[in-house]
Symmetry: D2
Subunit: 318 residues, 4 copies
């Protein structure tokens, strides 16, 4: 689907889709020519919901024409493109909002709150499985589709420097597309990210473990009533007097609680936040930097995937 | 725990454990000297349930003294040791039985039956998560403890040549032990193994997805009543006339069934099978070759783990 | 909510709701006077979605004015009213469709198919729990709200004569409304219906067991992927030669399967069926008789509830 | 199984079982004559684990011979028998301990603690389902087997006066035994008990809801890691100024927590408590009074069951 959604414009290459949109939204102007939007000086912002290969050009033109820009994830295909957009937005004093949807869910915001309170202790790992029998995309590997969600959630919850990526997977159908992958991200402080994504599972699983030295979180997006569980189960290390080098691990197993979550639609929270950032000069939680972090991991994953898991270092200096 | 269990001998370095064993088993002879067993010419078989570093020496002596040998998993520390044991057993015409317990469960045997019937179509992947908040071993990484189970199950269900291994993980506690890892095994026919193991999870998960082109299996060892579910959900590939290079993926979503499983204790099945192999000259399902396959992957994983996921080739020619 | 939905009329006492409806449906005529509908000779059918106390009058007028009629469950407040509507519809050759929604779900239709195939053997019981923390209605007991669903499902799946009803419950809040009840329905052939309904549970449960002598069904409406499970677990009775009076019960425990369900919206299936019945002179699956069966049980339950579970016989001769 | 377990005697009518017991417990004296136990003046206590029809005679003789007595649930067949045992024990200053096992589990004790803290607010209901495909007893209805557990748990957690019982069910197999029942117990303060028991379910369910005005508990005995969940979901009643008679119900939906439970075996806790009561003159948590409460409900249920749910009043004055 290729379209641009704006306040009072809808642009799409498909006449059918434009016509359908016109029936749903009476007041809106329809066009197949995206320049109509760039040239509309009354237009403040443009949402880019197109294939990733077109993100950079469209967002760049939008910013160049002094529009704020909302970009579907992943922000860009290449790291350099992401950097260029960030620099341009900074120069133009415009907002880049990357649509990392999950950041705006009640579940992820609650986990963030719990982490920021220090409840988990020192963070150790993010371990996620996101598999389903859904739409098998034909143009990108599953990592670009599904892992992008987890990388953005992880970056939001655990904003550590990411050093190295290892990714594995195989193209089972001979079409060059990898529909199933494992991903590891080595971060500072020995923090680890493990991500398992697949389009070809018999069941849908959306499960994330977040491990801290004091408490741990199980975030199960399929559980309608208890999406977030916080376990008072940690691992302690003790050194005995007799043998300083010998470590004893004692497990604590304690209470669990499942906090109440806000049930506002993530997209509604996100659009409101976008508007707030534009109107009040705020920085989006999912700004260009957040988008770039995801792109860096995706690009490195692609290289590692080709090399059967060989570690690929990220450029951490931007 | 260091002990050897035999028909009429129990050998252990700990006097306390020997005494306890003596109270439980009245007729058995107790010793701290393992040579008593090797020198007992009436003894047919020895079970080696000791730390992995001692497996080779003990099993080698047992075989040299014309005893059949039962070895705890993993069979040996090194690939060469495994090969040497296999050669010696072959020369001595003795049985090596490696205690890959799960092979003898009703669940794994039922899945094997389903696969051998061809129900799943062409096999694509084995994807397992085995995490818990259990005993944190101090002498080996979690891969040697928990992944050994999955490698043996995978080798039994999908006996494909294993080419390359990538393993990632981190030592969170500064003691050099890796308590959490991802493992990928590249096999012939583009078949893939993905294994996630951890000692430091807030919840116990034992879940394996086995993907075929026709059907897929979900094996959940924690589910008391429906451990094995077979999903009639596959992925089909079609080539359109218009564009031979363009692939369309159509998902089928059909019935599920959970077959009845035998509920005999795996250890009982295994010991009976061991006796049957000794008495009737049969080859154990978990023989030296099976044990060696696991050791090969473990050893390669260790190297890959040190190199942050760099692919390590297995020697496939034994 | 008090409104009547028709092909080209919407009638409601509330001006606000009428105005809102007008904005959603441009072509429709709006009125606060229901006689406008009865007097519209071009109008074929009227849907009555009003409080139950008004069902009889509105449906009676609709039929009298030669309209087919769709009635929300429960059909009427009193048994006599239900009978009168059935007789009038018969005389007028018009369709009564009672909106027992669940009958049109993929799950219930699949269970019906399984039962009609004889897979379950002789039916023994229907045992349902339908509890939630939802809207606490102020004008009727929970039985009239929630149990109506189960009685209609049971009547559809197990069309046995219903003899006697026992209902228990209590008004915890001193307002005379019973928000939690148990209901038993004694049927011919010793078939039993057990229904547990509640508005004041901490969790939502929608679980039905249907027991047959050969197989049993677990219908869990909260389970998104496996709503209907069929268990090959029955109970067999044997008489030993030694003691004819002594019964031995042997349990069989076998396979389970979860059939694929159609995922069409029940309301869409129902409305299409209503139209089909009108146009082609068919009898609705949820016709006046089905509606009356539910009303009979509800009315008897009310009396039994007042008498703390005392059995109340149903009039089975209509 | 008919046997009496004592400190140093085992009595059973079956020679086979006696011999087996003798092999397991070397020091114990074996007998087929229960009088050997009654006549042993050194014997302090006798455990009666026999069919319920023999409980009264055996326990009565035990007490008459100055033994403390442990009785399997249910305590006696008849209410009068229970009263007679209580009176005799009181006269003899001996302990009656009724083996209501669940009272000694970590789960039930934790719920008791939560209730006694006042966390649930005013108690409203106990609603339990206890169904399985287990052993189909031939001598009693399912209520006497399974509901006895729930009545004892309910009596322990909610020690309200029980007024009236209604029970329904049917004998599907023509053998006069009712394998499936619903039970309602009306208590003081409008508190309600709902119990659903069955031997002929395709799945095992052990689920109890305990409703209070502030919080509610879900006790799921099948859930290995989260048996007890406390929901901060209550129902509040408000009277509006405009209409004092009109009640508005506002639901609160809040956090959930699952407290850590002690994992000591219930039987071990119970036997230790029995010894403590004997040695230190304490009153057992499951004393004769607790046993009698269960018997009263069972006896009344039997009568109500025969009358298809007709309410049967309990004698509340003992």
């Amino acid at each position: 689907m290729i379209f641009l959604m704006i306040q009072n414009w809808i642009c799409d290459f498909s006449f059918d889709r434009l016509e359908k949109a016109g029936r749903l939204y009476h007041q809106v102007k329809l066009t197949k020519d995206v320049d109509d939007l760039f040239n509309d000086t009354k237009l403040d912002a443009i949402a880019v919901a197109t294939p990733v290969s077109t993100h950079f050009d469209l967002a760049h033109k939008a910013l160049s024409n002094d529009k704020h820009v909302w970009i579907e994830k992943p922000m860009t295909e290449k790291v350099e493109q992401g950097r260029a957009l960030i620099d341009l937005a900074s120069k133009k004093k415009k907002v880049i909002f990357v649509d990392h949807t999950f950041i705006y869910t009640g579940a992820v915001r609650k986990i963030k709150e719990i982490i920021d309170n220090g409840d988990l202790g020192d963070l150790m790992y993010y371990d996620s499985i996101r598999v389903n029998l859904g739409l098998f995309q034909q143009d990108v590997d599953v990592i670009w589709d599904l892992a992008a969600h987890d990388i953005s959630i992880m970056d939001y919850l655990m904003p550590f420097k990411k050093f190295t990526v290892s990714a594995t997977g195989s193209s089972f159908y001979g079409n060059g597309i990898v529909p199933k992958s494992l991903l590891t991200i080595y971060m500072e402080n020995d923090v680890l990210g493990h991500i398992n994504v697949s389009w070809i599972s018999p069941v849908k699983i959306r499960q994330t473990l977040i491990g801290g030295t004091s408490k741990m979180v199980l975030y199960d997006d399929n559980n309608p009533s208890e999406k977030v569980k916080v376990y008072d189960k940690g691992v302690d290390l003790y050194e005995t007097k007799e043998d300083l080098y010998r470590l004893k691990i004692q497990y604590r197993v304690g209470d669990m609680y499942a906090p109440k979550l806000e049930e506002i639609e993530a997209l509604a929270v996100g659009t409101e936040h976008f508007a707030d950032c534009i109107l009040n000069g705020k920085k989006p939680m999912t700004d260009g930097r957040a988008g770039l972090e995801v792109v860096k991991v995706l690009v490195a994953s692609k290289e590692s995937l080709r090399k059967k898991g060989a570690p690929v270092d990220l450029d951490v200096n931007y």
